[in-house]
Symmetry: C2
Subunit: 247 residues, 2 copies
DNA sequence: CAGTGGTCTAGACCACACC
DNA sequence: GTGTGGTCTAGACCACTGT
């Protein structure tokens, strides 16, 4: 059965909400196979009782795992652990964080970093007045000794203080977060294009190679544009992985 | 103030949950500008009172809009309407549905549709035994008289009954849904590649053009592979748009 | 301090699936 | 029927924000 649940230890004095504690316990039990794929869980009332929680609190924990795609619930039937192994999602992480997870030890070379007047199209994308000052940042991201991406970013001058040293190590988003910028959402457009001669050389790809392109506009919770980026990826060594759910 | 809220009419005899009705009303008020971007909403207790709802029900409605990125809540401060215009997400929709929304009147040409033995790599992706029978389906999607995508799909033979007539009109996912297949999630990989001579001709692109590639494995709620697809997009006329939130 | 959202409880009734 | 998850209520207390 699910004696597993009785092993969960709840800490009612912790600042971590109870529903979150339960969700964490369940998630790790699923991750390590204690709750195998396909397992039918106890009904939510009994689980709540077993943990001395109210039913709404138990439901909230279960719902959070449904939202993550780890559980499937059906009225009149029960709650089951989902089969597949999904996990991964193209979230609002920087490429740096992406690669770090894969253990590729990425490196960053800052090709240029300067304050310039925004060109008309950049100003439009960032919803800034024409000729507003922005920091233009061009970086080359590499992994395993091979170039992966040329990243061009524009940031409003007053948004964040940037130093090349920081950028070589921490990634742009991480840096902005630590300076009090609260990220809210981003719009991304993914396409493909042939490499220019210069870009092909930079990315160590053949002349005219197909490149993956990604354009991103990121907003803070007040709706201000926090960053605008145009990135080129060596398609032979990089692709985007997206996992998504279907209510 | 937010006299708007008093105009919401709740139907307690409807099968549509109350929290969902409230969320719909709020969402349309935001969409049509009645609740302008940046507006500070009433606190949740007063809103609940105004609609004669309990606070948990009101909270559930608000939370669903926070999850959609339309509202931002901060403890001690209040609830605000978000600024940007986001909306759009690369969900588990077919290209057909994508284009329909944009009003491009897409058409579909079924190039081939036959039952074949799965090749080793296809069988592996679909987690089927080698040489299992699958339906292989190749379609050309066009919009505005120009080809947009060559779509190659593989479906387990027993999963769904396919007819060319249906496929020309309804899209693969729509068809599977209507035959009782419950979609759960999908893993997508987006990349780029140079067009082969044949593909370039089919998609009306120059020789060696850069194409967007998308590979997708879709699962039902039992973890079975429902569909595996390899798609090629004319990058000059199509790109992926993704909107995402950052908790 | 007053006001906000965040968490938690202990019930109730309903809709649906399966026997 | 019986058992499941889905919805809804009416309170309570806490944590954080801003004055």
């Amino acid at each position: 059965m699910q004696g597993v649940i009785d092993t969960f230890v709840m800490d009612r004095s912790s600042p971590i909400p109870l529903y979150f504690q339960v969700a964490q316990h369940l998630e790790s039990a699923i991750a390590d196979g204690t709750l195998a794929a396909g397992t039918l869980l106890l009904n939510e009332v009994d689980m709540a009782d077993a943990l001395a929680l109210s039913r709404p609190t138990m439901r909230r924990a279960l719902q959070s795992l449904v939202d993550k795609g780890l559980l499937v619930r059906r009225r009149g039937v029960g709650t089951r652990v989902v089969q597949s192994k999904m996990r991964r999602s193209l979230e609002l992480t920087s490429l740096f964080e992406d690669l770090s997870k894969i253990g590729q030890m990425p490196t960053t070379l800052v090709l240029s970093s300067e304050t310039v007047q925004a060109s008309p199209d950049v100003a439009a994308k960032m919803r800034l007045a024409p000729d507003s000052d922005v920091v233009e940042l061009v970086r080359l991201r590499s992994a395993g000794g091979k170039p992966i991406a040329k990243m061009t970013n524009f940031v409003p001058v007053d948004m964040v203080r940037l130093t090349s040293d920081d950028l070589a190590q921490r990634g742009l988003y991480d840096l902005m977060r630590s300076q009090g910028v609260t990220l809210h959402s981003a719009d991304q457009t993914i396409g493909a294009a042939k490499a220019s001669a210069a870009d092909a050389k930079l990315l160590d790809e053949p002349r005219g190679a197909a490149l993956l392109t990604m354009e991103r506009v990121a907003y803070d919770d007040r709706g201000r544009v926090v960053e605008y980026g145009r990135h080129l990826y060596a398609a032979s060594r990089y692709s985007f992985e997206i996992s998504l759910l279907t209510g």
